[in-house]
Symmetry: C2
Subunit: 192 residues, 2 copies
Amino acid sequence: MFVILEGWAHRYKILPNGTRQVLAFLMPGDACDLHIGLLGEMDHSIQTLTNALVTTIGRDEIEKIFVDHPRIANAMYVSQLVDEGTMRAWITSMGRRTSIERVAHLMCELFIRARNIGLQTEPVFDLPLSQLLLADSLGMTAVHLNRVLKELRQENVMTLTRGCVSIVDIGKLIRIAGFDDNYLHRRIRAAA
Amino acid sequence: MFVILEGWAHRYKILPNGTRQVLAFLMPGDACDLHIGLLGEMDHSIQTLTNALVTTIGRDEIEKIFVDHPRIANAMYVSQLVDEGTMRAWITSMGRRTSIERVAHLMCELFIRARNIGLQTEPVFDLPLSQLLLADSLGMTAVHLNRVLKELRQENVMTLTRGCVSIVDIGKLIRIAGFDDNYLHRRIRAAA
DNA sequence: CGTCACGTTGAACATTCTCAACCCGAGTGG
DNA sequence: CCACTCGGGTTGAGAATGTTCAACGTGACG
């Protein structure tokens, strides 16, 4: 099992036709699934996006923790449930949000997650993700994403440049996204 | 925690604008998340789609099982990992497959899952899902889904009528979908 | 026999993609 | 120091895909 301490990574899948779908962005504190070793093979890939500091925890250590430290085990379960909630939110975005709503929603999510782990407090934060990568996570073309970002910029909602996001009007962003942070279970995560 | 013994159910989310996104279809043997009680609130809803037989397992019972029967606990983890793999496959479908590929992919998934739990063996099986519901799971309009189904029918791939799917050419269906069943981890699930 | 949910179809429209061109800043080799 | 290249990013125009709206069909059920 891996845990990211610093930097970013992502889960993704390459389809037979060569297109890519990003399934999740991993930030410091995020872990690969518990018990992934139980499955015979991986159904997707994981790769870092920046220089990153990653630690591994052996399987026997994990099992020891589960027995000896139920509160840590508990926190790990919760973290996994949050990951699942995030996947459900992504499915919802892909299925039932327009492109601009999807972009806004992802930005809200990344902003909240970055804030929760203390990466930043201002409405300006590092986002070391190329537009191509973001497009592959949002199920759209890099070209179209670029136009959507332009629109968000012109509407004075947010700007994305050189790996850095600046949120101008968070309220507007949330309104466009129809964002409800309950799936991130912030309070619980913060408590854990 | 709930387990479905007979019948179908689905997880779904209603957005502020009134649209619905189906997140998962639950068949006999499927369970709600372990430890869902750990989270303060649910980020989605669950509802049966047919008459169904559902059993509940109390939280203390679960914990007891986890301690006393590690192999059952193991099987439950695996089942949860399979559910996550399914969510990843859905994200991939929504993001990077055309509507006909998406429909074909879902049909492959439902067919394999139904076969795995012994619901049927022939390439004809009950599917008590309205086109509106299927459309809400595939991120498309019922109207468009209808046209896609028409195309699949005319191409002699499969037909869907009155709650019953008949797969005419499974090879063609798999080819259209670009379907790879590894995410369902059939062997492991079958073994568990 | 009326109603109601679901399925089917057509035509106009909107959204998103594709392809192609161009820009720009960061490295790199001459 | 300059020209070259290369990976993003940006823009335009036409084409494809999917939606919307509206009409009509059809079987189940009271």
